[in-house]
Every structure is written in C-alpha cells, then in structure tokens.
Symmetry: C2
Subunit: 510 residues, 2 copies
C-alpha cells in the first residue's frame, strides 16, 4: 500500500505501475510525444469498404488490441454497440476498449465483458447498468477512469496507445474528411474524436451521410483516416441531445445559481474579456441567465466561453455578450447548429481543451469554471464518480482539469440530495483534489477554500452567506444525519487517474 | 556511382544515404510517424518573450541544430533574415536551415554561409543570388531540394527533424493561436508553416499583430507553440503579393492557354465535380479564363480547385463555377482575403496537400494539374530547378507531387525562350520523372506521353495540333539550334530528392 497526497491508500501494484498522486503539478515533465504507425494511401486507392466486418478485417485487428470510440452521440450512440457486436461475432477476445466515455445505451458491453470479448476498459465515466456491473466486479481488471484532459494526455504520451479507432461521423466524404455539423445525426464538435484520429494506428470512419469530396468544414482530415464505411444510421438525434436541460424552476437550484452569479460578478475576474465554463445542470444554466443580466447591467462582455457548450452560451454569443465560443463538445442541437454557422464558435480537440501535458491548453486561460459534485468533503476534495452507495455512476469529465487550471473554480451543489448529504467528512472517491477547488456554493451559502485567502478577503463584504466547509457539512448532517460507511469488498474495480496519470483513488467492489 | 531509373548518375555516398529513385511508388512503405519532444506549458505560465534573442535563448538552440522557416511571405519576408542575423550575432555556428523555400530577399544567407553560421540547407528552391552562390559551390554540403509534398514527408518520417521552427505569423495571441488572414502583413494560408509547427520540438511565433486570446480562426494552435515574440514588422505586403501575375496579352502565352483549355475541356475528366490545379504564370491564368468560358457554355461546375491559389480561382469560386477552394498557399492578396471570408475556401497543410506518405493527400483526388517547366526532354522528364546555364534558380514546389498523383498532368511551356529551347534531348536536371507527365502543351501544339494511350486515343479528333515529343524538340532545335552542353565542375552542390526521399538527380557546380 502507498498513501498518496489526498490520503488515499493505493495498492502497491498500481502505485508502481502508474505512480501515486503527489500534487497537481508533480508529474508535469518534458516527454517525447507518442506517434502512430502510418500505412500510406497511394493515388487512386479507395478507402471505402462495404461494411463494418470488412473494415475490421482490413484494420488487422487482433486479440489483445486496444480500440476506441468517441462519446459525442451520448445516449444516441449506435456506433459502439454495432462495432462491438461485429467484433464479438467475429470471435475476437481480450479486446481493450478506450471510449472517451460510456453511456447508459452501452449496456450490451456487459455481455461482451462476461464473454471475454472485452477485458479492459478505460473511460471518463460509467453510467447505470454498466457502472453497476463494474462495481459488482464482473471485469477482472480495474476500469481506468480518466478526465478528458487526462485521456488526451495519456494518448499523447503513449500511455494509451489506440490500435484502431472506430469513429462515428455525422458526415464524411469517401476519403475520410469528417465533420459533426452536416448529416442526419449531427453532434456538433468532434473534439474528443479528433485526438483519437491523430494518434491511432488505424482509423475507421463510420457514417450514415456520405458527402462529395471534399467534405468541409473538416474536423477530422483525410490524413488521419484509413477506411470509410457507410451504414444506415450512426445515432439517434433525440438521444444525442438527451440530458440537455431546460431552465430550472426549482427554488433551491435558483438560489444556488443566484449565489454563484453573485460570486462571479463580484469576483476580481469579472471584467471585459473574462472567460467562463459552465456545466449542463439546471443550476448551471440558471447561472448563465443570472450573469447575463449582470453583464448587460454592468456593460461587461466575456472574451470566451469554453466547454461543453449549451444553448445558454450560444444565446449569450448571439447577443454579443460572449465574443467567442471554444467548443470541445456540444450538449444540445442548438449548439451544434451554432458551430455550423457562427465563425466565432470554434471547434477544438480535447488535447487543446484540457491536456496537462500539452504546450498549453485552453483551460489554462480560463477565469471561472462552474462545476458539479456528487460529494465534496471538508478538505474540498470532490467526488463525481461514485454514488453514496459506492457504485460507479458518474464521470470524471473535465472536472479535475478545469478546476485545477482556471483562476477560480466553483463547485455548485445542493447541500443535501434527498436523504444524502453532499458536503461530507470524507468523499467516497476523490476525483478532484481539494487544492483545485476554490469556492463551494450551496443553497445555504458559500464556503471559500482557506488556500484562497485572496478570495476570502475579496468576498468579505458581498451579500452572500459565508460559512466554513465544516459548517456546511454540519448543516448537511443536521438535516439528514451522518452517512453510514459503505461496505466495500476487497476487489479494486476502478482506478481513478488524476489528469497527470497518477492514481488519486481506487474504487472497490460493492 | 549508381544509376537511377531516370538514368542519372548518383554518387555512391548519396545513393547509400538516401536511396536512389526507383520509380514513383518504389519507396511507399508503412512507417512509424516522427514525433516531437514536448515541454508542457503549465497554467499561468506566459509564452511571451521580450525579443528574438530571448526567444532563441529560451529554445535552447545549440550549434549543429536544425531550424526552419516558412515561405508564405515570399519576397516580402522579413523573418528569416531577422532571425538569422540574431543567430549570427549570438555566435552560433553550423546551423542547418530548412525553410519551405528561399526567395531573392534572402541574399543575406550568403554571408551566413561564408561565415560558417549556416552549413546545411534544405529548401524547395533557390533564387537569383543565393542560387548562383550555391551553384558556385560556397556551401560545403549539397543543398537538399525537396518538393512541397516531399518536405512534409521528410518531416513526418523524421528524415527532417526540426529542432526549432521560427514562424512568422500575420496575427497571434499571446498563447500562440495564429492565422494568416488577420494582421498587417496577411499571407492567407499558412499551409507550409502548419507542418513545422506540428513536428518541431520548439516553435517560436514571430508576429507584428498581437490579438486578444483566443485569436481565431486558428491555423496554428497554441498546442504547437512554445514562445511568442512581437516585433515591429514581419513582412512587406507588397513583397508578399510579388510574383502575382496579371492576365497575359502575350500572343504566344494566349495560344498555349487556348490549347491547354481545349485539352482540359475535351478530356475525360471534364464533367461536373472535376478538379484542377493551376500555377501562377501568365499562361496558367489565361487557362483559367478560357476554361471559365467553357464551363459557363457547357454548364459544368468544378468540385474543387487546389493549390497554390490565385485571384483567378477565387473569381471562379465567387461565380459558383468552382464549389470549393483547397488552399495550401496564396499567391496574391485577393486569395488571402477570400480565405478569410469564404467558408468554401479551406486551408490545409502541406502534408494533406501533397505528402506521398500520408494517409492520402488531396492531390490523390485531383483530376488535372497544369504545371510549368524550364526544360522538358524527350523522355518527358521535367526540370524546374536549373537554368540553361546549369545554375540553380528555380523551385521544386509541388511539381513532382501533383504531376504524379493527378489523373492528367499538363506541362505548359513555350517551345523556346529567347535563344533557349524548352523541349530538349535531355534536361539538365530531372525534378519530375517523365512517367508522371501526360501532356505537353506548347504554342505549336501538344505532345501526349505514349504511356497514356488512353489519352492519345481520346484526343485523336480534337482541334489541337499534335506532335510527338521528338517532333517538338526538333522544331525547337530548328529555331534556336541544339543547346551546348554545360561545363559542370566536380562538386555536387545540390541533391534533388524525389517526393519519396530518394535521389532523382544531383546538381554540380558551374
């Protein structure tokens, strides 16, 4: 056992293989970038193949290899299930999968795991049935949970080498020029897929909308693509936009949003050209609305909004309140449409978004990040991956990336959810270390990290109730009581990588 | 001595180091892509440095290293001379320079060579004073001449490793997001620079127009940039557009253009969605005008124009006769403006343009290329690098790339220039092998390569005089006489790489 800097016990084998978390910048060193094996495509050769099976055959896929997918289609994704079924039908075993994330719709993975087709998984997160099955221990090897920036880092360093990337494309030409803004199932930005395309040895584009050459704009260029296969449907547009949230009428969420907006608009960062990233929850969208009102009143315009883009940001841009949108993924159809038509709405890849080992990611230029939490503890550590029952049901996402890199990170969360406290003594699983978290905003008021004496001083006189994080925890416990400890088993079912690749926590079976 | 497939003698040491040319696709093999060493940029670190000297110091430049520049500013470039002077002043020696090309304006290089600051050069071409000095033999090691696609290939394979790229940027933000369409000295596409930025260990952006973050559109992203330095002026807009040609009134050029247009519009490729690339000479621009008239009459629209973009193509696009422009460099200001405003005018890098070892370059999808020649011989070999006196004064450019990859390559050239025949027994220097050349167009008529019996058959009845290449040569010689052989010395002053990296010819001193 090794104890890391957030006091988590990491089994020796993982501590040796990955190193343990030792501080936000402990493992930021120069390195030789990973590269792919390229099989040149000669003049007059075609990249089109007849079907998925032929594509898989042509890639030279073998047992034991690593394949990847992107999660831009979220709950509307058809691609991963289709490809995995074909791979299973062809008799492959011992495949490692490295999708950028896994959704509820990917429950068929459970059978592929049980049948030995899939033996390793790395992902940003796991939802519902797959998360529950992993937490039960159906996979021999632990799932590796990576943040969006951490995944880009792992690919760039070679920690995650992708043999074959199977990338769903809303549109492509026959030579593999791809974008996400044209087609039957548009998802907008292809920011996560772009990284896989650049580093994978073999890249298969799977599309249901074949365009004449050259298909522009080009998110993934032909120079990153080996084969193109046309199928009937790559995704369900309804499912792609699922999870997009309407403006909340929940009084608790509105109060959280109001406090958060006051923190933002009273912060030292709130001035012309400031930048922010918000999430997709009801309270996050409400924050956008509140700061919109303030920006109009104060005649202040943001330089850029980053993310994870929703219609709320698109509207701010269209009003001229946000000059540019920098977009690694879109959460709703309006955002995908905006990317297609607004020259100030700009697509970037996940490496540029958040990798800690790039020559500088956009989050390094970010003023304010608004983030969620399943749990936050009195050391300000945040859990966004396991529920109060210890079962994996969330996603690391850009949480540890943005919170670390930005000027002021804000966790917005209700003090309790049903009978479950959000502010606790110790989170079940640390995804983001407390050193990265600056302000916690609840419906009762805010707590500012004592590391940020500058902010404590700055916010002394604002009209928002302020507490210590211990006081917030006591208030939560006084409402719902102290949570019972979870009875974990002995098996490590998931490793939580910090963005730099070290292990910040492990999840055991329940 | 080794004899290569175009019957050129290659000294043994170069034959062993580079391999000899053995056919267009002889060396197209799978390979592990080269990669760069990355020094991650941490949150809150600045990339801005005070001046060129500080930038050079921070890169860790050492004697013996390789540095690169781009040639998008052509005769208006201030960057290479400024950087080289600083490097010389700092006392560096034995530097290899790898600009994408070298212009007349770079004559100060001659002193840097004489002083031992520069000891190796690779470039697409050499003009005027620098070409003459190299042909005299002032550099100990031969210059390596690479095509645009060949340079991208050499960088991607690691044959050309760039330690530090010094890239002039019409605009950049402080974090290194660069484009060529905003600023004081706009050049439009940065297609050659984009490759250097992706593979160089260290990248210094040199700009005279610093924009707020994030500067969009982004041609070179912050993730490829280590340092940004602001200077007073990076280039002269007049010089950038120098060489842009007006529509010719020369009757000989008009006749060549008319014949070329007839070949195009009577070819099997002339149909809706066809594609073409033209050069910048007077006759090339006239071809654009003639095919414009035909396209309107025949109600035919091109799918894309590629290049090397001039205002002639921009006008065709604006008229709707060309659907898309795919742009690796712009030859005039109108083209740079079009890239900024026309969503169907799309910037690509040199790797995507023409590398023979990419996963498929755009030239592989090209129907018709119109190319120039200093000389063409009865084997259809083309020389675009040495004059009739044997002195280096041209550039390889995309000649061997496009001519090989496209469906029909056309060399347009006057039969004689002054007292010098263009069609000859044997070209002084082979840049493009005759197997890549399909049709030669002169003011007397055309010659079709016997390799292309399909074209000979197809063009049997068209209204253009047709000759064998030997007949064209005889006509040329009958006008100006047979050229005297050049008296070369014994020293190899330049190696002509074929696009695949093998040596197709050498140039000796005169």
């Amino acid at each position: 056992m090794a104890i890391n800097q957030v006091n988590k016990e990491i089994p020796q084998e993982y501590a040796e293989k990955y190193q343990i978390y030792a501080g936000e910048l402990a493992h930021i060193d120069a390195y030789q970038e990973a590269s792919r094996k390229i099989d040149p495509v000669r003049p007059r050769a075609s990249k089109m193949v007849n079907d998925l099976r032929e594509a898989i055959e042509k890639t030279g896929l073998q047992n034991g290899m690593t394949i990847s997918f992107h999660h831009h289609f979220r709950e509307g994704d058809f691609v991963m299930n289709r490809v995995m079924q074909e791979i299973a039908d062809m008799g492959f075993k011992n495949i490692s999968i490295a999708p950028s994330s896994i959704a509820n719709v990917h429950a068929p993975l459970i059978d592929h795991i049980k049948n030995g087709v899939v033996t390793n998984i790395t992902s940003s997160g796991l939802r519902d049935k797959v998360g529950a099955a992993i937490s039960e221990g159906i996979l021999e090897n632990p799932v590796v949970i990576r943040s969006h920036g951490g995944r880009a880092r792992a690919i760039a360093t070679g920690d995650l080498h992708i043999d074959v990337a199977f990338l769903g494309a809303p549109s492509s030409d026959a030579y593999g020029n791809v974008n996400g803004t044209v087609g039957k199932a548009t998802c907008g930005s292809l920011g996560y897929a772009m990284v896989d395309a650049k580093y994978a040895d073999k890249v298969v584009i799977i599309t249901d909308t074949l365009m004449p050459f050259p298909n522009t704009p080009i998110s993934i260029p032909q120079t990153d693509v080996d084969y193109v296969v046309e199928i009937d449907a790559i995704g369900d547009p309804q499912g792609i936009a699922k999870g997009a949230t309407r403006f909340t009428k929940n009084p608790k969420e509105l109060l959280i949003a109001e406090y958060a907006a006051k923190i933002i608009t009273n912060s030292p960062y709130y001035k012309n050209g400031f930048s922010f990233q918000t999430g997709t929850g009801g309270a996050s969208l409400a924050v956008s609305r509140f700061i919109r009102e303030a920006m109009i009143k104060d005649d202040i315009k943001a330089g850029f909004a980053l993310g994870g883009i929703t219609n709320a940001m698109v509207e701010l841009a269209e009003e001229g309140l946000v000059e540019k949108i920098i977009d690694v993924q879109d959460f709703d159809h309006a955002s995908a449409l905006s990317l297609a038509k607004n020259a100030n709405h700009y697509e970037i890849d996940a490496n540029m978004y958040a990798s800690p080992l790039s020559k500088g990611s956009v989050i390094n230029q970010l003023d304010i990040a608004i983030l969620s939490a399943l749990e936050i503890d009195t050391d300000y550590n945040v859990n966004v991956i396991t529920g109060s029952d210890g079962v994996i049901r969330g996603a690391s996402g850009g949480h540890s990336d943005t919170s670390m890199a930005c000027q002021m990170s804000m966790i917005i969360a209700p003090l309790v959810r049903g009978r479950i406290p959000t502010v606790v003594d110790t989170v079940n699983t640390v995804v983001t270390p407390g050193t990265s978290v600056d302000v916690v905003v609840t419906e009762l008021g805010v707590a500012i990290n004592p590391n940020r004496q500058d902010l404590i001083e700055h916010f002394k006189k604002i009209d928002v109730p302020q507490f210590s994080i211990e006081e917030l925890k006591e208030k939560a416990y006084s409402i719902v009581g102290e949570p019972m400890p979870i009875q974990y088993g002995d098996k490590v079912v998931a490793l939580i990588e910090y963005r730099d690749g070290s292990i910040i926590d492990v999840v055991k079976n329940v």
